[in-house]
Amino acid sequence: MGVLIRKVFRDIAAMRTRAVLVVVLIMMSVGLYSGLEQSGVDLHRSYERTYDELNLADIWMDTTPVPENTTAHIESTFNVKADGRLVTDIRIEMGRSTMGIRGLAIGIPAERRPLINDIDISSGRYFQPGDIGSNVVILEKHFADARGIGTGDEMTIRAAGTGIIVKCIGIAISPEYLIVGGDPGQLFPSDGSYGVVFVPLQNLQNATGLQGMINNICIRSPDPNRTFEEVLGGKDPMLGPSIQRIQRREDVWSYWSLEQDLKGFDALSDLISALVLIIAGFGTGMAISRLIASHRREIGIMKALGVDSGTIFTNYLILTSLLALTGAGLGIIAGKIIGMATVHYYGNSLKIPLLTNSMDGSIFGEGFMFGVGMALLFSIVPLLLSTRLKPVEAMMSTRLARPGRLSSRLTSGSGLTFRLAVRNIARRKERAAMTSLGIALALILPISMIALFGSMAYTVDEGFDAERWNAIVSFDGDHNASTIQDLRAIPGIDEAEPIMVGYGLVGDKYYGFRGVADNSTLVRQDIVEGRRLQNPQDIVMDEMVADEQGYVIGDLVTIRFVGNVTATFTLVGLNSVILQGNCYISLHVMQALTSPGNISGAMLRGDISLATSPSGNATGLFDLPYVISVTGREEARENMHELILEFSPFINVFLVLGLMIGVAIVTTAVIINVDERTVEIGTMKAIGAPDSLLMGVIAIEKFFIALGGGLFGIILGREAARASLEAFSKGLFKLSFDFPGGLGIRTVFLAFILTYIPLLAAFYMVRKLRVDKVVKQVSR
């Protein structure tokens, strides 16, 4: 091995603290890149595995009650597997409370597992034939966990006004309800405010008087590549007017929202991986630049001895490459751990029962290449500069730089600690600015994640603050419009407006529709373009629906409603809400087309707590047998916030990872900063300066650097937050950007935390610095 190559290894040994930090930075960047990319792929695989092993349906058909043997007819006609269920809206009452929680009872066979849409029992047991006739249920896990219900607990479920006390014998995860949602035409519930209850099919048939009948047919195609249209041949499956709605897998709320969520995850992880690679590259470049600065004298000596510039460049390139390759190699291990941890945390947060962890060579290979490549790219400038040093200048032991006049004058009367700190910064302005920039880069990830979360909350609050209604009441089905008078008669209710919720087929997809009263003042419609409903033929569409189906204002839109009734509307307005997918038409038109003379719920204004719990013998909302839930505005707001929290796992993942890389880069900068000033610090100690003074100087220097980092961080973090928001805002959520002043203050605060945590290491270095070694170093 040549002398110069030996020197490379010895240089690494001599700079081991810095070398370790550079290796850690590169390791983290490769680890984060590979781990995040792999976890995105593995989450997809975990969902698919769960769907496959639990046989998630490809198609759901909601029908009016039809005989159970209809499934056999569908199987033979369409060459598919089909399984029938009975599904009905219910009101759930916990303990002695008569306050209703909205729910859905799904009747499934007691004597066998469902062929399609099976459930994964996480505690307790599945039904057995002996359960037929006994009031037992299995609860969906999200609701059970949110309400703290376990096996053996009892509750009342009420359908069509009749209440039955049931006992929970099992808790289960359903592939249909990995994210629980009600009807997309209504407000989305939280885990605890919407309960999915599985009941033995015969028991539910008996309770509803629908013996031998089903109203929900689940279909699974033997060929997963066959499309919806290919399976059904573009025709209704000979059930004619019985069909109320056909849903494809990709239109089901849980499946769709998880897909959207993963799209957001992928978009954000791409953005964040790229940022992390840049940040780590920047940190590596900074460390190599400082290393070469500290090697000035050696480089000068080597040049004086006749070593050419190319050899010097090659040597430092080998040094950088060795660090980068080591870091990237360790990054692969870190990536595997990060990937597994992310899938575990994310999957468990969303209660995905069957998780997959894999290691794709292409992803990790890419991470390795990018990590090494970015480290070398950012190091190339200092490496090239090393070749341009002139031997005579470089051989001078130190290059003295003096602070500017302004800082000297401003601090001339100040205390020693402050004076030294300010002038040190002024002396190395560019270096201080680069350190501040490094801190700002480190802040980008956490700040953009906090801003993204804040924007979600802001969008929800912005929407709810503008509403006039105080509650939405849902019925257990369609009821005569005169029921609105019952609601108006309840104490506390000042205004009640009828609504009619249903589904309609637009193009090839079903969407939720709300029929609203012509003179409605409680339904805001959230118009962002065009106007509100005025005429019977008007329709207001959600921006996302219009976009998906390619409609613009003024277009004619043909919609097919339940029972094959079609109607054509004129698109007059576009609305936008945080959770997308609702369209509005006139109540009278909706009634005429779907359920003449009926309504399915109402918007209320007034004192809702009085209306749900009236004094004395007065009739309250829950005394009306057809009312299954009353959702107050504040409760709805909370539900929406909780729903957002369901999507928070990956934001938390990115936040934590961002902070980790932030601490790594700032630690690198701070430790290098102390390391390269060993002689100065040693001299101060040699002439009797106490450690407290030296630590004070460093702490004040870092104060200004942190402040600069915080201010840079606000600018960069704001832009990164905007980019993250755009990446995440496609599909599921429509978000308004919000970066409040308070977040700016938090950015600066975070900059101080990021800067001052590694300072403990710097203080330790100051305390442990051996003065004798420093003196020998400068005396030789």
């Binding site: 003295l400 004076r419 030294l420 100065e680 100690k685 040699a686 002439i687 003196v775 020998k776």
Partner: protein, 228 residues
């Protein structure tokens, strides 16, 4: 009893499995007001000896008492106070703080003692010939001027002991002679005990005692009368 007393001082380093002795069973007394020169080849132990007296290195064994301070019993904090109050140190490469002006560099030891005396600082800088360069930063001074500032910095607090490790090792011949003359004058005028480690034979002309070292031991000692 001398100002500095070294009794059976040993110092060695471990390099892997090899023990390298640097000072061996060294005994020495230095009286107040002496100007002692330590001469010898590199590795003879003179810098290590001065570092031990300055309280920036520890002997492996033996006793070191300087101005009544038993360095062996002192912890890091006490040694820091000792360096602040008792010793002035002149480094070969000056080691001025680049962000402080000449005046501020010299005032630094006083500030560390909680004192401010601009007049004294100016006087001492005048004494080393830099009365007109108080506001200059180290980067604006020549090597000789920087070393003069370093000497002024070491002297300003009127230390009991002034230690110089090759204080002129990095300077040209003329500047070197000027600095040696200055040290002699300071020793004579202020009565400060001065210890100098050097290769420079010019010091032999001015020291009151010349100690020759080799292999970590004192091989000869000559007082000024004997030399001259």
């Amino acid at each position: 009893m001398g100002l500095i007393q070294l009794t059976n001082v040993n110092k060695g380093y471990h390099m892997g499995e090899i023990d390298i002795p640097v000072l061996t069973e060294l005994d020495m007394d230095v009286e107040a007001g002496e100007l002692v020169g330590f001469f010898g080849p590199s590795g003879s132990g003179k810098t290590t000896l001065l570092n031990i007296i300055a309280g920036i290195d520890h002997p492996t064994s033996g006793e070191v008492v300087v101005a009544g301070n038993d360095l062996h019993d002192m912890d890091a904090k006490e040694l820091s106070r000792y360096r602040r109050e008792v010793v002035g140190y002149i480094f070969q490469f000056y080691n001025l703080l680049p962000t402080l002006t000449a005046e501020e560099n010299v005032a630094l030891p006083l500030e560390l003692l909680g004192r401010k005396d601009r007049k004294k600082v100016a006087t001492i800088l005048g004494k080393v010939g830099l009365g007109d360069k108080l506001d200059r930063f180290p980067a604006q001074l020549s090597g000789g001027e920087q070393q003069r500032v370093a000497i002024a910095r070491a002297l300003v607090k009127e230390p009991r002991v002034l230690i110089g490790d090759e204080p002129t090792g990095n300077l040209d011949a003329k500047t070197s002679r000027d600095i040696i003359k200055l040290l002699r004058e300071l020793n004579a005028d202020l009565g400060i005990t001065v210890l100098i480690a050097t290769h420079d034979p010019n010091y032999r002309q001015v020291v009151s005692r010349a100690v020759s070292m080799e292999g970590g031991k004192v091989v000869t000692e000559e007082t000024s009368g004997e030399q001259r």
